[in-house]
Amino acid sequence: MADQTLQAPFVAPARLTTGQQNWRRFSSNPTAVIGAAIVVLVVLAAIFAPYLAPYPTHAGEIVNFRARHHPPSLQYWFGTDDVGRDIFSRVLFGYRVSLILAIVVLGIAVPLGTTLGLLAGYFGGWIEIIIMRLTDIALGIPPLVMALAVSSILSPNLINAMLAISILWWTWHTRLIYSITRTLRGQEFVEAARTLGASPFHILFREILPNCVSAISVKVSLDAGFVILIGATLSFLGLGVQPPTPDLGTMVASGANFLPDNWWESILPGFAILFVTLGFNLLGDGLRDLFDVEEVR
């Protein structure tokens, strides 16, 4: 069958680099752009929180009982909580906790899960059996229950919360990479690499892994939102970050005591969680659209 791609005669010889082509496609996808904008905004807000927050000291140990329970106003954009701290400033600092959580958890889960998935998918045999059965067991444990268990054995704090989530999070990545590797294992370019004398290390990390990058990027974006949500849930239950460190989940929990009259104390931090999760989800969806088109080609 002759080479029938529509591209060959029609696209001009003047070529953009692959990077430029990708940027073009990315920026013409509204979902991706909005998602990326939100994520960038949140990240910048978190990094520059001390400079952006109107009341940076309110992120620490401070009480201001005269300003308790003030509704949102020009002075306090998101209002104040029950000890008089500015909620907006605390939300900005709270984003720091959320993002650190996401980075650490995914920073552990993704390399670990990906490596296990590659090994299981490529070598098969006993390696596959051991890794995948372990994964199956881990997938059967609800993350929240595990987090509860870990937090009650160790003390509740941010690090232990991250540990609790990481212990189980890698399994999803293992599953994903395993199935991709299984498919790619039979591809001609992998066989060609074997024939050419490439080592298994080379085949796994230089041939197969680059083909997983698109799937991993999409999953990491979607995961980030999910991890932040779980982290917020844990701290809502009192198992994560402890006061007075600002944390979105904790703020929702303590603010819930004052619903519905002082709604802003719970709802607005809730919206902050929604905002960042939405951003990551849109980014993930946008990336998926981007990569799907590439695959089709």
Partner: protein, 328 residues
């Protein structure tokens, strides 16, 4: 005195276990049965066959990607061992240029794979990649491009460069041009002929295109359902094809000049299709479609009959005691 052949395959066989719909064992597929041939250094040996002939399985066994069920593979007289040593002796150019190159790696990175496997230094690798690109007549800046930016013919040149990077003695070409236009094919074959001459390469050329085989291979083996039906020196074999399958194959080849038409054996188009290797006919595997089938064909698998110095075929009709002769 004669040097041992560069590659010799003796009694090569491969059986696959067939599985039923639910994974239960459902018998054996005899993909390759007792294939033997030898390739001398510097020659182009062609393996001609259609689907189900086992040609790809043979290629994979020679490369070491699949273990044979029986038989031996000898490289320069020494039995081949799996692994790196074979990688340096034998390389392959795959059929589909689109899928044999990693879409996520640049051309330069793909060509560098065997160089890195041999642990060359980075600077030396880059220089060698440039050299190889020049050898296959591609511009040096192609090293940064990705497969999707190249045409089929260009991708196949990259595949050739990559195979050459491993500095093999023998290159296996598995239908290297069947996915390409005829003018691009001509350029690729021209390149291969040139490289064969200047680098002293030996080729094992697998194809279903007999016209191409006639012009590129010096010796040919015709495969049918995992066995060699006929084997010999190209000119002799094409001038006087002896096996009914070879004759039918030649009669079906689409030709474009009156001269070629006159050359073809005068046999009717064969009926039916190639039986599945899972259900091999008894006796001679071609007997179900053979226009000259007679008594012994459905019971006994024929041995080779020698027709000329380098030309033999396995067919009952060729035995001296057979009382039928093939019409021209």
């Amino acid at each position: 005195m004669s040097a041992p052949p560069l590659l010799e395959v003796i009694g090569l066989s491969k059986n696959f276990r067939a599985r039923g719909a639910f994974g239960q064992r459902a018998g054996e597929v005899k993909a390759v049965r007792g294939v033997s041939f030898a390739i001398a250094s510097g020659e182009v040996f062609g393996l001609a066959g259609e689907s189900g002939s086992g040609k790809s399985t043979i290629a994979r066994m020679i490369l070491g990607l699949t273990a044979p069920s029986a038989g031996a593979i000898m490289i320069e007289g020494v039995e081949a061992s799996p692994g790196a040593s074979r990688a340096r002796a034998i390389q392959m150019v795959f059929q589909n240029p689109g899928s044999s190159l990693n879409p996520r790696r640049s051309i330069g990175q793909s060509i560098a794979v065997p160089l890195e496997a041999a642990r060359r230094r980075r600077v030396a690798v880059a220089a060698r990649v440039d050299e190889l690109l020049k050898m296959v007549q591609l511009p040096a800046d192609f090293a940064e491009r990705y497969p999707h930016e190249l045409s089929g013919g260009q991708k196949q040149r990259v595949a050739i460069a990559r195979a050459l990077a491993a500095e093999p003695r023998l290159i296996l070409l598995d239908e290297p041009t069947s996915a390409l236009d005829v003018s691009v094919q001509a350029k690729i074959i021209e390149l291969l002929q040139e490289l064969g001459r200047t680098l002293g390469l030996t080729f094992l050329f697998i194809s279903h295109d007999l016209s191409l085989m006639r012009n590129f291979a010096s010796r040919v083996g015709v495969l049918y359902l995992g066995q060699i039906a006929e084997i010999g020196e190209t000119t002799a074999l094409f001038a006087s094809p002896a096996h009914p399958y070879t004759r039918s194959l030649l009669a079906s080849v689409p030709v474009i000049t009156a001269e070629e038409e006159a050359m073809r054996p005068n046999v009717p188009i064969i009926e039916g299709e190639v039986p599945s290797p899972a259900n091999l006919p008894a006796g001679c595997s071609f007997h179900t479609r053979c226009p000259n089938v007679f008594a012994p064909c459905d019971a006994i698998d024929p041995d080779f009959t020698v027709i000329a110095a380098d030309h033999r075929a396995r067919c009952h009709l060729l035995r001296p005691e057979a009382d039928t002769t093939l019409p021209r």
